[in-house]
Symmetry: C2
Subunit: 423 residues, 2 copies
Amino acid sequence: MSGLIVMKFGGTSVADAERIKRAARRIVDKRELGNRVVAVLSARGKTTDELIAMAEEVSDAPDPREMDMLLSTGERISCALCAMAINDLGHRAISLTGSQAGIVTDESHTKARIIDVRADRIKAALEENNVVLVAGFQGVSGTARNVTTLGRGGSDTTAVAVAAALGAEVCEIYTDVSGVYTADPRIVPDARKLATVSFEEMLEMAASGAGVLQLRSVEYARNHGVRIHCRSSFEEAPGTVVVAEGETMEQPLITAVTHSTSEARVTLIGVPDEPGAAARIFAALADVSINVDMIVQNEPSSAGGKAEISFTVPREDLRAARAALEPLTGDAFVELHTYEQMGKVSIIGAGMRSHPGVAAKVFDVLAQEGVNIDMISTSPIKISCVIDRDRVAQAVQLLHSAFELSGPGTVAEEKPFKARQTL
Amino acid sequence: MSGLIVMKFGGTSVADAERIKRAARRIVDKRELGNRVVAVLSARGKTTDELIAMAEEVSDAPDPREMDMLLSTGERISCALCAMAINDLGHRAISLTGSQAGIVTDESHTKARIIDVRADRIKAALEENNVVLVAGFQGVSGTARNVTTLGRGGSDTTAVAVAAALGAEVCEIYTDVSGVYTADPRIVPDARKLATVSFEEMLEMAASGAGVLQLRSVEYARNHGVRIHCRSSFEEAPGTVVVAEGETMEQPLITAVTHSTSEARVTLIGVPDEPGAAARIFAALADVSINVDMIVQNEPSSAGGKAEISFTVPREDLRAARAALEPLTGDAFVELHTYEQMGKVSIIGAGMRSHPGVAAKVFDVLAQEGVNIDMISTSPIKISCVIDRDRVAQAVQLLHSAFELSGPGTVAEEKPFKARQTL
């Protein structure tokens, strides 16, 4: 289909009646330019948290199938309300549940993966000149026909998957920030909005703390060649387009500095130097679905000696990690130590591939200001350093400045935060 | 299926976490007695009102299809939460939306009628030893596959329809009252709880103000031979069983006195005495779905004269009735008068059929105390009198006493309101 656009509005963009009407107005504006429009909506503001609180009131360990039945109502409410608002503006709109929209997933309740989009009903509704509103974050399982949800941030993935299935021109992700920045503007006031960013860079950014786009949605977009335009719900200026690497205008050495302040480190001392010890440790963590980020292993000093393994996990998973590992004490390791107040700073840039000196510069910049680097991990386009949580803001500022990321950017002209402040 | 019970819990019975857990406990109790159980749930407490308020915030005239999409979320939330609570009690439970449960309706959004129950999925879930929770009040339209709702009180109809489709032993309707009474106990403190009542009587009672059961659900139960047991969520004592007329233990002259305080009267003066005049009037009202209750027409005094037509409508529909009729002024009638503060008192009893003197006694009792009767309508088992709204309570008390309905009843032993008071 030509002239077909998918628009996705996040929770803050549909948080109350005024914002729903504003989203409806933006959808109608696109429609009046001659486009066919599918809009994917998240649950309103705090709805999902409220539903989770209700579940916790009735059950200590809510059944995952029922959790999905419960949580999926939030996006349906947003869609129905937005459809009403669009109808009031003189355009036809219908809302579809994830199931009605043909979002078919596997059976993994609360963290399902999309396996197919059977978009017949969306297409038919578009043919009848409807704006189609699709409830984000949810689908229906292929065999058991149960309602499933895609996990936090899943609406981005819904939008990208629908865009891929329909061959949409672009998938516009509307949020409360106006695009992807060279760093978090709350920490670096002169951070620059990027006009474009490559899929590879965006993946590294999403994985290392940039909250703008959900990692899985970027992967899906890359795999299916969907063009993502990440922009603000509250202003008209264009945001950041995520494109294939060949499409980027320029290839700067460093594109952005990202960070996270919610890391925890686990160190296991006395791991036997034999095949399978590390495998047992990480299998125990995988069994409880803990996402291990960085892993460092020290070589044992002598034959038959013991190694030391350190790794990081999201701080919220630390308790579960400890619970999963403690039964292995004395067997897979001797002692377990944890450090809760860790953070991470990363620099990302496709240009890094051909410039070997970047890592050295990062270490130098941090060392000069006495920021101690605890762990390091690298990819061809990323360098991440685990550091103390309370040095993170300073480290971001130092690196942003050292790699001259502010430059004569788009910030001054576009005033990306003006709209937010007047809300 | 044998040993199969349908239980329906209304909005007040699932209003908060404690009540949901209590409903779950009652369901599990039935299950542990060896029954297979399907439970139909309403939306929690004020949820439906809150959703309607949200819709009115975004739209002056919410689209009915989208209204149904919105409102249907309330019952899904109740069902998912109750399923979690049952799972916590060590039993398996799954919740189904109206669509998943196979509740197929016509396309009339916000007031759909059930046309079929395709209960395959419910049956399969029962076979797998699940308690099945079905979202009340909703279905899916047969051709367009849209979510529909059945109108206020529709969950009773869902429960009866599911009971009919499964051939359940009984459909238990749990509410915040403990059964059907000879009169509203708030007005007549010594009103007696009825052990049984016939479908015909229950239909007349539901139509004339008794709020315990929804009229449509009683009709459906009669047509499909479903046994309804109307009882309290908050106590164990049996309530009232609605049975076929042959099954009632006794056939008293009068079974109950019902009332309504929300009537309005419309009087049209100068209606031409020609074929079609009345038809035009009531067609205009039917077009806007106004339910006309009682109709009285005075004969014109001479040939070519004009008649006077009076009728009652629910007070909430009076404004719409006036708007529908005013365009006909000068054509179908000369003047339109309205009286807002009307009420209605009715006596109901299958035994009335063989006792012609009942009407005379009603008029006499009311006349002795100076209660003016404005309009009268009768059926073989009911006499209704439209009177001033502020005489309704007195009229109920007079008739309840005159027909000796309190008698040595079940009230004293069962203390039906004790449980409510201690809540």
